[in-house]
């Protein structure tokens, strides 16, 4: 009975959605408004104006940089929310022991240790070359965060946590928003607008983009690892 009702509901939702999809500008057409209006300028002049060969990077950090400012805030919000919701639910000392009592495989442990530097290097590469190839701060940061998670599971949590010292962790978690505030303010000084970049691929632009990429990366990695650890603290 319930199932039938749900299916009727889905059918009701499906009708207008499909009708709208059928009437959308044709898929893949080069004449659709989405391609001929704003995107046209980005594609034609994006490299000179935004200072990155990868136009997507140019869009997220330069043209629509403020969206990304919001994005890094969202991910820090998630971190703060998870900490606030889970805080103080259990004595930390207990879980350290609980975590280390998980049976582990020597082979996995060895392989993780062997691969760890290469994964870290890959993460760094993804961050550094985000302007000219696919990837960027957040992707690299996620890869690094994933490395920390793998190390926590396969090697030991203490060792993984040592990479993000507890004393400065609250600052690492907000590296993303802070780098945006810093670069944004630099933009006010240099161009008169928040998050403004000097025109073209000057050294200043490159430096500002790099600061943003690293801020997003460090912040992202710390937040992801912190959320995972905090979730692990729960019994």
């Amino acid at each position: 009975m319930k199932r039938a009702l749900v299916i009727v509901l889905l059918a009701i939702v499906a009708m207008p959605l499909l009708a709208a999809m059928a009437a959308m500008p044709r898929f893949g057409s080069a004449e659709q408004p989405a391609y001929t209006h704003v995107a046209k300028r980005y594609l034609e002049r994006g490299v000179e104006e935004a200072g990155a060969e990868n136009v997507v990077t140019g869009v997220i950090l330069n043209y629509r940089g403020f969206d990304t400012n919001g994005e890094v805030t969202v991910i820090f919000t998630a971190c703060a929310a998870v900490i606030a919701v889970l805080a103080g639910s259990r004595n930390r000392q207990d879980q350290r022991e609980a975590a280390s009592s998980v049976p582990e495989s020597l082979v996995v442990r060895y392989v993780v240790r062997l691969l760890a530097p290469f994964i870290a290097l890959f993460a760094l590469y993804v961050v550094l070359f985000g302007e000219v190839s696919p990837g960027g701060g957040f992707q690299g940061g996620t890869v690094f965060g994933a490395l920390l998670i793998v190390m926590t599971v396969a090697v030991s949590r203490n060792q993984a946590e040592r990479l993000l010292p507890l004393r400065i962790r609250p600052w690492l978690q907000i590296a993303g928003p802070l780098s945006f505030l810093a670069v944004g303010t630099a933009g006010v000084v240099l161009t008169g607008w928040y998050l403004g970049f000097p025109q073209g691929a000057t050294a200043a632009t490159r430096l500002m983009l790099m600061v943003l990429e690293f801020g997003i990366g460090v912040g992202g990695a710390t937040v992801i690892a912190s959320i995972f650890w905090r979730l692990g603290d729960e019994a």
Partner: protein, 497 residues
């Protein structure tokens, strides 16, 4: 003049945002330090947003282009009369933070307190950003900041029911955000732009209206879940009643208004372009608004829990505003827009006063709180002022905007709704009378209630500032009405409303 400095506009968002993210690092675990920092940041936010309101009152709407990219190529902040909501947000947020000084360490576990302030400040930042942004996708990003902080703030007390209420809120909130994102995507596909003003001008040229209609429907549905319009209100009563009281004040006063401000922005796109005919949508909204008024009031009558009653009363008041939107006449829209501001003030006053009473007595049921008018005279008086305002009795803030919505109903030649509105006000009157009656005229059940005394000043002062504003806004009721009128005329302009 000082208020003309262009960077006040981004600062209104960046101050609470930056201040919010660094709170845990600054507080280093101390609740006192966290409060001091948060109070300072929120005071700065009030100052910045005041500059914006002065500027819009003197010179009309203005905008700020991030990175110097002129719209539609970059993200634009646009401050118009409706954006003055940002000032209400900053002001009420600051009062909620001041109120939390003693309340938060009492209601929350110690390590959560700095994060509580972080989340409150980020919530304020998100709300301000939402009400000033001129970009559809940026609107979504701010909506998500507000929603995420909202879910966490409901759950932060760590009680079982709080977490369950937060989860319910989260699922519905996430689905509604997704519907809005779907709608934004469709609008982008049809117009090729994300800038609201640019979309409005390009929508008329859309090859087919079907995607536009569905996109509008999705956005309206998403916003109405956020605004808790009946029958999409199921998440609201639990979430608002169980959250810590300053959070309830922010959620009920400000966060539900996100959907309504979003609606005004959406109207801005659609009315201006005349791409689709909204009359059937408006017909539906008028009806749902009317049903919402009655149902919210009806459920409120049966609540014994004081905060639960206030939460249902929010649903009823959202009904007034949505009905005003649906009537779509000059008077009704002005009344609805001002009621967004006034309801924020009144409902925050009520929730903060109720929070102070619960903090002092430890009871939250009306039947337990009998006689509290004697024990906490100043707080109970503030609560009564709020109650009188929300009913809409003439010299208070609630009266003029409801009167304008009723006038709008006659103006739109739908007098029946005008009467529905008056009828709803009577209903609301009944349940607030019940509350006042319990406070002052019934025999106390618990003897301690009659001599607990008023709460500390950090609670009493915000409560009375808000109660006083309820009276002042009633006496000076014309000021906000004339203030938003140009925005409404601009909105309805092409329709000749």
């Amino acid at each position: 003049m000082w208020w003309q400095w262009p960077h006040w506009l981004p600062l209104a968002v960046l101050v609470p945002l930056g201040g919010g993210v660094v709170t845990p690092a600054v507080a280093r675990g101390s609740a006192r330090r966290a409060w001091g920092w948060a109070a300072g940041v929120s005071a700065a936010t009030v100052a910045v947003s005041l500059a914006l309101v002065i500027r819009v009152a003197r010179g009309g709407p203005f905008s700020y282009a991030f990175g110097g990219w002129q719209p539609p190529y970059g993200i634009e902040f646009r401050f118009d009369e409706v954006s003055a909501f940002a000032f209400v947000v900053a002001f009420l947020g600051a009062l909620a933070i001041v109120f939390s000084r003693q309340y938060a360490p009492h209601a929350l576990a110690e390590p959560r307190v700095p994060y509580y302030y972080t989340l409150l400040l980020l919530d304020i930042a998100g709300l301000i950003g939402f009400s000033v942004t001129g970009d559809l996708f940026n609107m979504y990003v701010f909506m998500e900041i507000v929603s995420l902080t909202g879910y966490a703030l409901v759950a932060i007390s760590g009680e079982r029911i709080a977490e369950m209420a937060a989860f319910k809120y989260l699922v519905l909130g996430a689905v509604s955000s997704l519907l809005a994102l779907f709608g934004i995507g469709m609008l982008y596909g049809v117009t090729g732009t994300l800038n609201i003003a640019d979309a409005a001008s390009r929508l008329g040229a859309a090859a087919s209206t079907m995607p536009v209609i569905v996109a509008v429907a999705l956005l309206v549905l998403g916003f109405m879940v956020k605004a808790a319009l009946f029958p999409l209100h199921v998440w609201l009563p639990d979430a608002h009643a169980i959250a810590p009281s300053p959070v309830s004040a922010v959620l009920s006063g400000l966060v539900v208004k996100l959907g309504l401000v979003g609606m005004l922005r959406l109207y801005g796109v659609v009315y201006a372009s005349r791409a689709v005919d909204l009359s059937s949508l408006n017909w539906l909204l008028t009806w749902l608004g009317a049903v919402s008024i009655v149902m919210g009031a009806f459920f409120a009558i049966f609540q014994d829990d004081i905060k639960m009653m206030l939460a249902y009363s929010t649903i009823s008041n959202i009904g007034y505003i949505v009905m005003g939107f649906g009537l779509a006449s000059q008077y009704a829209l002005v009344g609805a827009a001002v009621h967004i501001f006034n309801h924020a003030l009144i409902k925050s006053a009520l929730f903060l006063a109720a929070g102070a009473i619960i903090y002092q007595t430890g009871y939250r049921r009306l039947s337990d709180l009998r006689g509290v008018g004697r024990g906490m005279p100043l707080t109970a008086a503030a609560l009564s002022v709020g109650a009188v305002s929300i009913v809409g009795i003439p010299p208070t803030a609630g009266f003029l905007c409801k009167w304008y919505i009723a006038l709008g109903a006659f103006e739109a030649k739908r007098a029946a709704f005008g009467f529905a509105l008056v009828f709803g006000a009577l209903f609301i009157f009944v349940y607030y009378i019940r509350m006042v009656n319990a406070f002052y005229f019934q025999e106390p059940v618990h003897a301690d209630v009659t001599h607990v005394g008023d709460p500390p000043l950090s609670m009493l002062v915000p409560v009375w500032i808000l109660a006083a504003l309820c009276l002042i806004m009633g006496l000076a009721g014309k000021v906000p009405l004339t203030f938003v009128a140009p925005a409404v005329s601009r909105l309805l302009g092409p329709l000749g409303g």
